[in-house]
Symmetry: C2
Subunit: 412 residues, 2 copies
């Protein structure tokens, strides 16, 4: 079964805005076994929207519109759909009363214009909106269901999840979808693809997608079958060999982020972590502390952006800095050891490097050293990353977290 | 004049991907005075793409397709456009030779399938691609220009900027567009809109858009006129009163980020900065150091996530922590003063707070204290932010940077 999604709103046609509701809707539809075949982004123009509705209806069994249900004259979705399927709009006093009541609860008077939201397409089922004033509408028109949903994401998500999915499940032919996500670190996108494409290229079902962004790689597998064992069987046939091929480079099989996985490993070992950041300027700590509950294992650390700070806060000797430079194996090591000494943490990670745009020392832009100290001593890894300042910094933190992950996996 | 944009690629219909090329294209088209009236995202299906082309041609003077120019059978854009306008595809040996040569330069042999990329729609002008193998195409068909552009953003951007804009300038009626961006801190989106809407609501030209995200507010103004003085006059008529109404809450009139503005202020004063972060866990430093050249004023600082670190690294007394708590005015003050003392910086910023999800101390989630120490002493501001962990952390750093901005603006 196919769906087409129409996002309505002139603001979605500016250079600053993207329609992100369709990502949520696509995920939900895919989970039901429905494919999205076309998406439209249309301005607040009744004829354009009606035209898109007619075109979508001619090709898809499910047509979903988001946005354009507000109270102003710019909000044309109701009129446009009524026009496209040649039905009347009917005023519902009980909706108007409900909206008026909402305003009263907020100690405000409903503006006359809000009555527009009480118009419903003849024969449509009303989808109540408990998070806003605009009700949704569900219309069965010959072979197609047409859904009108509010634009604000939290209203749309609640309405779709609670009211539309149960109804769609009765409409969509029964099939079972099973998905699996591998998250992978320590290899490039092309290496990953070269490694696993001989496996997944042979299969249309499951569908395999590789996503790359900010040094993080994900392999998404989605299988659909007539039954649970059927779908799981298809999924495993591809996921099994991929899992084997990637081995320890897979850091998560449930979607967890690298910082969350590292956090769990530290918690299990009752270990603590401290960091010293130069080139990444806080990004590593920010990732670590973005995990709720990270205060149980993360102590804190040092932002030693200047050489003086490296010496004064971490005890990196001036000799080391002069002889080897701030971006060197020796400095990374001294930073990690100094951090562990001053905080008493189980593990200490240090990052020093050159993110550009202009190199300050005599190392190429993209050079990164990561140090990892524990009771046994300190190891340092060296890499040169391509790309701009932001990319180099993200890749450096990914490298540091992955180094700690491997250390914790080996020892535990 | 109107344009419609068609993004081609089944991967753009998955829950993970968005078509972002259209944002760049919209910006460029708007700057020429062209409005985008509909965007389509269509899978790798020849008939669907041809259908979208026909529909777009019936309504817009400019139709731009991105993607689907690759060498595989999935790449259907050439065939689809040829079908839509009923023209033949013609093989161009010189394009094939050029692609073969590119492969040779990379020490690789061209696969036979790449010859597909040498097919050009009859009568089309070829747009050479110096960043990839797929050439673009420009077709004049009755009243419409149809542009076929490659999908990879760096190829599309280079081709559009260098080859399409000069040609479009000759097609599009001459008009001058002038834009202005105010970036604003220290107020909510609804406060901002209430303050300035009485001014901008009266005008269709310039178009005024308010963008809000992550504690950052932007007011975009775009005026078009027959001449430069005309456009500037229209722009100023609205921008002037908005500027007056917002006053010092505007931190940038050229698009610069808050961290860049603060950096410039520090540089001008030959001042240095150090930070101590608890709740934001490195996010403040990460923002400061995302600015190239920040090492001239940013010394570094302390990540004092645990109370022990606050005491050991910054000298926050255990009495202060016990009596007032880690999330308190007194702790923020001791953190800022301790940071300045230990680093010798001109300014020291400290942030302590509670980002949740579960409050650890007896303060509500969202509570933030920011301390700012200088030679004269220390001031502390207190706020409670709504939202999730990530949002509270971003708002806290925005608050800290804005506090420093105001301090530097007043004193300098």
């Amino acid at each position: 079964m196919n769906a087409e999604i129409i996002a309505v709103g002139s603001e979605l046609l500016t250079p600053q805005r993207l329609d992100t509701n369709s990502l949520f809707l696509t995920q939900q539809l895919n989970d039901l076994g429905v494919e999205v075949t076309t998406k439209y982004i249309v301005g607040d123009n009744r004829d354009h929207v009606a035209d898109a509705v007619r075109r979508a209806m001619s090709r898809a069994e499910i047509v979903i519109l988001s946005g354009g249900l507000g109270p102003t004259e710019d909000d044309v979705t109701r009129e446009a759909v009524a026009l496209a399927i040649d039905r009347k709009l009917v005023f519902h006093a009980e909706i108007s009363d409900h909206i008026e009541q909402r305003f009263r609860q907020m100690n405000r008077k409903m503006a006359e214009v809000n009555r527009r939201q009480a118009f419903v397409i003849e024969g449509a089922d009303i989808l109540p909106n408990d998070r806003g004033t605009a009700p949704g509408q569900w219309i069965d028109e010959s072979e197609t269901c047409i859904l009108l949903l509010p634009g604000p994401p939290h209203e749309l998500k609640a309405m779709f999840t609670r009211q539309c999915i149960p109804r769609l499940e009765r409409v969509v032919p029964k099939q079972v979808i099973r998905t699996l996500v591998f998250r992978v670190a320590g290899m490039s996108e092309s290496d990953l693809d070269q490694t696993i494409s001989p496996v997944y290229k042979k299969y249309d079902n499951p569908v395999t997608t590789i996503l790359a962004g900010d040094g993080d790689l994900q392999v998404h597998l989605r299988a659909h079958g007539a039954s649970e064992p059927d779908a799981l069987g298809l999924l495993t046939e591809v996921a099994g060999p991929i899992d084997m091929l990637l081995g320890e480079r897979i850091y998560s099989r449930n979607g967890d982020s690298l910082e969350a996985v590292v956090g769990e490993l530290l918690k299990k070992r009752h270990a603590t972590l401290a960091v010293a950041e130069s080139v990444t300027g806080g990004l590593l700590a920010q990732r670590i502390t973005s995990v709720p509950g990270s205060s149980t294992y993360f102590l804190g650390g040092f932002l030693t952006y200047s050489n003086k700070m490296k010496t004064e806060l971490l005890g990196v000797s001036e000799e080391t800095l002069q002889l080897h430079g701030a971006v060197s194996k020796e400095t990374a090591e001294a930073m990690a050891l100094g951090t562990r000494r001053r905080t008493g943490s189980t593990f200490a990670l240090s990052i020093t490097g050159e993110a550009g745009p202009e190199p300050i020392e005599s190392v190429p832009v993209g050079t990164v050293y990561v140090g990892l100290a524990d009771a046994a001593g300190c190891q340092v890894l060296h890499r040169v990353f391509l790309g701009d300042r932001a990319r180099i910094r993200v890749f450096a933190t990914q490298m540091a977290l992955d180094m700690l992950r491997k250390k914790c996996t080996v020892v535990s």
